[in-house]
Symmetry: none
Subunit: 367 residues, 2 copies
DNA sequence: ACCCGCGATGAATCTGGTT
DNA sequence: TAACCAGATTCATCGCGGG
């Protein structure tokens, strides 16, 4: 348990029982970094059907019947998404997963509530169940939606880590992963599958590496047998689970007790340049790596002269390395660090090399 | 022109001008077999976007894609879907295509109106535009929804035809197809793209082969430059197009005049050459075949540790399996797959064995 | 004829810290 | 809060021109 402002406890790394909406509403607001939600779509709604105006269903037309069950599902979706939004930190984000039965309704409601969709992601199953009757296409994928709490939020995205996971190429919105089978698939006493829709750990691994950092709090309001919690624990994230069914909670507890966290070094992830400390160009001059008066050269042969204050003098233009580069190229912007080169021993070297040198001195450790 | 019951003419193989809702409402009810609709996506683009090389991205900023609010877009969606449903035959079906900006709203409204969703289909683009700022996943797919006019309708589905299109394996709900480029992409007088969102003929080919028969009537209420009509004509289906913008209608008319029935069949057999699928090393980690923190060994006894993002940590060096191998050997390059080994049951095994395992799971994998 | 390198481009809700 | 500005960021493919 961790105590946060207001003195209320955040029940970290535990599974709460009961209704997820009530439980989320009992948590302090703005307290979790990420929500991962795999809600049910086969709700048993018959018997509690009301139109929005509370009139009775007279069932002349099964179209109406359908409308009412969609309305009930929409109410449920609206309520749990609102509860999730309340507990999310301002820069938090959410993942939801579903199939065509429910994902369109979730996506529309996410937008209605002010969540800001970042990507929809297709989980392409490498080993789906075939369509036996040959009446439709093999349903070989599920859809995830990744959204920040609001437009403009500074969501977490470990771009470089995902690029590494994908062998150096930018990660796409379609992910090929096998469904959960074999030893990973939890069984009950009778050897049947313990949960009908257990998600593969590989899917959660990718989600959590992509959009959380170690120490983040991940909430799963439909915890089931605890895949989210298990992967969170492995990856050094904290989790909060909510699950209504006691039998799933028990299986999840047992599963979590067996999970071990990976060691700290393994959890470090490739970081982007953006995360590295900023080095002002002037420092290269101060340190004598470049001399005032020295001439820098662009790839296409333009030149500029270094001044003592770290500005450049080009053709009819003075300013930062970026400004002068942009002006010379007629471009909207320019990264002066990679644009400008200097000469040493007959070789032409980008000035970024000097920045790297300073950075490695600062960290004392090469990356 | 064909005359049907009630004496009203069905304007086959022509492009109607004007508002698609009005035009659909002027057609006789229950008269078309299939609707294919590629409506405005309601993209909400803020500023300009530049590629890393500073070139400007030519974005979809056309007036027809602008809506004031979700409410306005929802009204538009409700109206055109209702109009389409009226003109559909009882056993008719509809395809809509969209991205995360609009597809959830379309899917929900389809369900609300009593359409019966049969599949959602993912068009996985083999050559999408990358995410230039590294802030999200590459948006590498669009979503299609296939729905019958009502639950229980006897919709058309050419199961065997699709199976043969797919080298004898049941067609899945994810289709890998390139975007429309090269000579197929229509250009205007200035050599720029004539329409910002022209769809590839291969996509329409698959849709029409799957869910229509020769002689069926296909209606496209957002005809654009006429891809639906062109493929329908090639395949011996009749079409009705509706398009508001005169410049698109003119281009489509000209295009259709050049199309000949059948001349495409031979070409459309998907190229059988298929390279071995690339398996990123990171997938072995995500799938739990290797654990973060686990130590890999080289033939000459060098070691490195696996991280959660699929990179290796060696002596004073972090990077891909290939980079770290090359660095340790002082070689310009290194095939990490054969260089690195892991231990299981006392045996030392190259990691390439695990890659083979994944590939065999994927095999039989259709495109 | 064939190969290679270069430039162009595609439905995109695409920055973030400091002053 | 708005303005300013440093500076980080791309993959597959096609067409074309030169060798």
């Amino acid at each position: 348990m961790t105590t946060i402002k207001g003195g209320r406890a955040l029940p970290l790394n535990t599974i709460l029982s009961g209704d997820c909406i009530e439980q989320m509403n009992s948590l302090p607001e703005a307290s979790v970094d990420l929500v991962f939600a795999d809600p049910p779509y086969n709700l048993q709604l018959k018997g509690e059907l009301h139109r929005p105006d509370n009139s009775r269903v007279d069932a002349v037309d099964d179209h109406w019947d359908q409308f009412d069950s969609f309305a009930a599902y929409d109410r449920f979706t609206r309520d749990w998404l609102a509860a999730a939004r309340r507990v999310l930190k301002p820069n938090g984000a959410i993942w939801v997963i579903g199939s065509y039965h429910n994902v369109f309704r979730m996506g529309a409601e996410l937008q209605n509530q002010g969540y800001w969709i970042l990507n929809d992601v297709v989980w392409r199953k490498s080993n789906p169940m075939p369509n036996f009757r040959g009446k439709r296409l093999t349903n070989a994928h599920e859809t995830l939606i990744w959204a920040s709490r609001a437009e403009g939020a500074k969501y977490t995205f470990n771009y470089e880590a995902l690029k590494s996971l994908n062998e150096g190429v930018q990660m796409r919105s379609d992910w090929v992963l096998p469904i959960c089978t074999g030893h990973e698939r939890l069984k009950d006493d009778k050897g049947d599958k313990a949960h009908p829709t257990q998600k593969p750990e590989s899917l959660l691994h990718r989600v959590l590496v992509a959009t959380t950092n170690p120490g983040d709090v991940v909430l799963d309001p439909f915890f089931g047998t605890g895949t989210t919690g298990a992967v969170a624990k492995m990856l050094g994230r904290d989790f909060i689970g909510i699950e209504r069914e006691e039998r799933y909670r028990k299986i999840a507890e047992e599963r979590l007790s067996r999970v071990r966290r990976f060691d700290r070094e393994a959890l470090m992830v490739s970081s982007s340049k953006r995360a590295e400390p900023r080095v002002p160009f002037g420092q290269l001059v101060e340190r004598g790596m470049l001399r005032p008066g020295e001439v820098l050269v662009s790839p296409r042969g333009k030149t500029a002269k270094v001044r003592a204050d770290g500005t450049l003098v080009g053709d009819a233009m003075t300013g930062s390395i970026h400004q002068v580069g942009a002006a010379l190229e007629g471009a909207p912007s320019c990264n002066g660090w990679t644009y400008w080169h200097f000469k040493r021993d007959g070789k032409t070297v980008p000035i970024d090399v000097l920045r790297q040198q300073i950075r490695s001195e600062m960290s004392g450790r090469p990356h």
